[in-house]
């Protein structure tokens, strides 16, 4: 009897590893087909029903190639920790608000639905799809971190110009000179390093160092630790570049939670172009963009995450300085733009939208080009040919199907400069010009919305990026608020106190 039991245990012991692994994979598969298959496909080939509408596309697990791993460049597979991190969420300190998964992609973090164990089951299933069962445990070494002083940043800058600028652009805005594709054939764009909040796997120096050191497998981002590469850098050099990349981040452009565009009042003439020094004093506000996916020709693969806007106004006009990073200027005679464009090349464009005329409280036109209540749109359009140049137009719209272009001559001016991957466009137009134009009152709030066309991403007509109604305020002239009321309040209270005191004395 005792003998038999022992044998049973021995047998169990022998098989248990395998048996447990098998059930883990099954559990993982069950979770996978319930939650993950919609994007990544039933077979894990990255071909779920949603896949066609996503950029970056969902990962194909059958290859076992992962972009965001922490193992060494020559190690094909990610570590178990990497897999767990990718499934449960990669939140970094600077991600887009509300994003709990892989930043700026459609991959959410699952830690709110799945426990640690379940995540590991899913990871086990994913590993089984690629055919490897034991993941490496070694991560790259972060101990050689170089302090981010100015010398390091300076060294990094030099290295960056030599090693990285070809793809990321000299200013680091991702204004590539090459058309890039990843191993699955999907279009990729070099990251705009001035927008740290769009980095997929974090924007801390360590994160960037990891990307430089490991590369991004499956894409043209190579490992700079690979001795076989001509561009190989030493550990310290890679830290220098990482430090420099961190310094490129323009965090003031990151949209805040509830941005309000503050227009500053000027006495004289408003600037016509973006180079004017008058812009320096105006406050900058960032706004997140979403692609137009409401009517007809929809856009599912946006190429710009946000716009930054400044505004100035005087008694009769308002001027907007709109800035966004764009890998190309989308000018059809520009060789680089033609090369990089996805399909047909259209001119870039940007537009500002207001409700027309006076607005009653709580009464706004439809944000998508108005409806029964009209909107006024000021649009700037990049040049379609060298001769034609940039254009400005005013559109009076009462819905997408009811659009009237108004003669903008002399009313609206618009002027853009493209420089190293960044558009800076000034649109200047009339306030209170006619009953169709927007009306503002000093100190008041008015809704405003923006739209953006990236021509090299195929944006034209209804296919574009946009914001919903945002608030804009026309700040009162003269610094600081009135001190009259605060002082009056103080004096009244003080008099009250004195009155009280004297009446109390009198009673005695």
């Amino acid at each position: 009897m005792g003998m038999r039991l022992l044998t049973l245990f021995a047998l169990l012991f022998c098989f248990s590893n395998d048996v447990f692994a098998q059930t883990e994979i099954d559990k993982g598969k069950a979770i996978y087909s319930r939650l993950c298959a919609f994007c990544h496909g039933i077979e894990g080939a990255g071909d779920g029903p949603a896949a066609a509408y996503l950029n970056p596309p969902p990962r194909d697990f059958t290859l076992g190639l992962y972009k965001w791993k922490s193992t060494k460049f020559d190690e094909y597979a990610p570590s178990d920790d990497d897999l767990a991190r990718m499934i449960s969420g990669m939140r970094s300190h600077d991600s887009i608000p509300g994003w709990d998964g892989m930043n700026a992609t459609s991959m959410p973090g699952w830690s709110d639905l799945l426990g640690k164990e379940e995540v590991s089951h899913v990871a086990a299933y994913l590993k089984s799809l690629a055919g490897y069962d034991n993941a490496p445990k070694s991560a790259i070494d972060l101990s050689g971190k170089v302090k981010a002083d100015s010398a390091s940043v300076e060294r990094g800058k030099t290295l960056f110009k030599d090693r990285c600028a070809e793809c990321h652009g000299v200013s680091g805005r991702g204004d590539a000179t090459k058309k890039l594709k990843d191993d699955w054939g999907a279009r990729t764009w070099p990251r705009d390093l001035t927008e740290g909040w769009t980095f997929r796997a974090g924007s801390a120096p360590e994160d960037i160092y990891a990307r430089i050191t490991i590369g991004i497998p499956g894409t043209q981002m190579p490992s700079f630790a690979d001795p076989a590469s001509k561009k190989m850098m030493t550990d310290a050099q890679r830290w220098d570049v990482a430090n420099y990349a961190v310094s490129l981040n323009e965090s003031e452009k990151k949209p805040s939670a509830n941005p309000v565009l503050k227009a500053m009042k000027l006495d004289g003439k408003l600037p016509d172009g973006p180079a004017d020094a008058k812009w320096d004093k105006a406050a900058i506000s960032g706004f997140y963009l979403f692609p137009q996916i409401f009517v007809s020709s929809k856009s599912y693969t946006p190429s710009v995450v946000s716009v930054s806007v400044k505004a100035l106004y005087n008694d009769g006009e308002a001027a907007f300085l709109i800035e966004w990073d764009d890998p190309t200027n989308s000018m059809p005679w520009d060789q680089k733009a033609l090369e990089i464009a996805d399909g047909d090349l259209f001119p870039d464009s940007v537009a500002v939208q207001f409700p027309s005329g006076q607005l009653k409280p709580g009464d706004r036109p439809y944000f998508g080009m108005g409806g029964p209540k009209p909107v006024t749109i000021w649009q700037w359009k990049g040049p379609e040919s060298i001769e034609e140049g940039q254009r400005a137009r005013i559109i009076d719209a009462k819905g997408v199907k009811n659009i009237n272009q108004r003669l903008a001559d002399g009313l609206l001016t618009a002027n853009g400069i493209y420089d190293n991957g960044r558009w800076r466009v000034v649109i200047k137009g009339p306030l209170k010009g006619s009953d169709k134009d927007p009306v503002f009152e000093e100190g008041g709030f008015t809704p405003v919305a923006f739209a953006l066309w990236d021509g090299s991403n195929g944006d034209t007509g209804g296919r574009h990026l946009m914001t919903g109604w945002q608030w804009m305020t026309f700040e009162k002239q003269g610094e600081g608020p009135s001190y009259l009321w605060p002082v009056a309040a103080g004096v009244i209270v003080f008099c009250g106190e004195m009155l009280w005191l004297f009446s109390a004395r009198k009673k005695d």
């Binding site: 009653k360 409280p361 709580g362 009464d363």
Partner: protein, 177 residues
């Protein structure tokens, strides 16, 4: 006097609180402007006529206010145009219409000509309709609008739209308003 002052201040304070609450705390909602009599674009095609009818039915005519399953105050009209012909032969019918379209017109301007059982004004044993005539100033539909509503009713009932717009008449009327 001292008491008077105290009481007066107290009362003013109470009034002040109510005022501040009503003026500053609750959200400002601006009522709609009084409607302006606008001459609508004259429908030319049948589709336009039906579209105008739908607009009037849900808007100016306020028909949907009562003729809806939620309100339950009046019969539903999805099949009204289809049963119109049969209504003429019903016992309770006391109008002068001779065909379906005339019947519909009549039930719009003189609703008591036939009252659908169960929907009469209370205490009239279904002889008088609680519905106001649509030419009534409270609703005040024009001839064109009434015809448009009939066209709309015929369309939702799935019967042929028989309404004909007498062009000259309609235009004349539109400019008259």
């Amino acid at each position: 006097m001292n008491n008077f002052l105290k009481v007066a201040l107290f009362s003013l304070f109470i009034i002040g609180v109510y005022t501040v609450y009503s003026v500053m705390i609750i959200p400002p909602i601006t009522p709609e402007e009084p409607p302006k009599e606008e001459a609508a674009a004259m429908p030319v095609t049948v589709d336009e006529l039906v579209a105008l009818g739908e607009q009037v039915y849900n808007g100016k005519g306020a028909c949907a206010l009562c003729h809806s399953p939620v309100a339950g105050r009046a019969p539903l009209l999805e099949k009204a145009a289809a049963v119109a012909e049969a209504r003429l032969r019903e016992k309770g019918y006391n109008g002068k219409a001779t065909d379906a379209e005339e019947y519909l017109y009549e039930s719009l301007v003189a609703p008591s000509a036939f009252v659908v059982p169960g929907f009469g004004a209370s205490g009239t044993n279904d002889t008088i309709s609680p519905m106001p005539g649509v030419k009534d100033p409270a609703i005040g539909l024009s001839e064109t609008e009434i015809k448009a509503v009939i066209a709309y009713l015929q369309q939702i009932a799935g019967v042929e739209v028989t309404v004909k717009l007498d062009g000259g008449n309609a235009i004349q009327e539109a400019s008259g308003r």
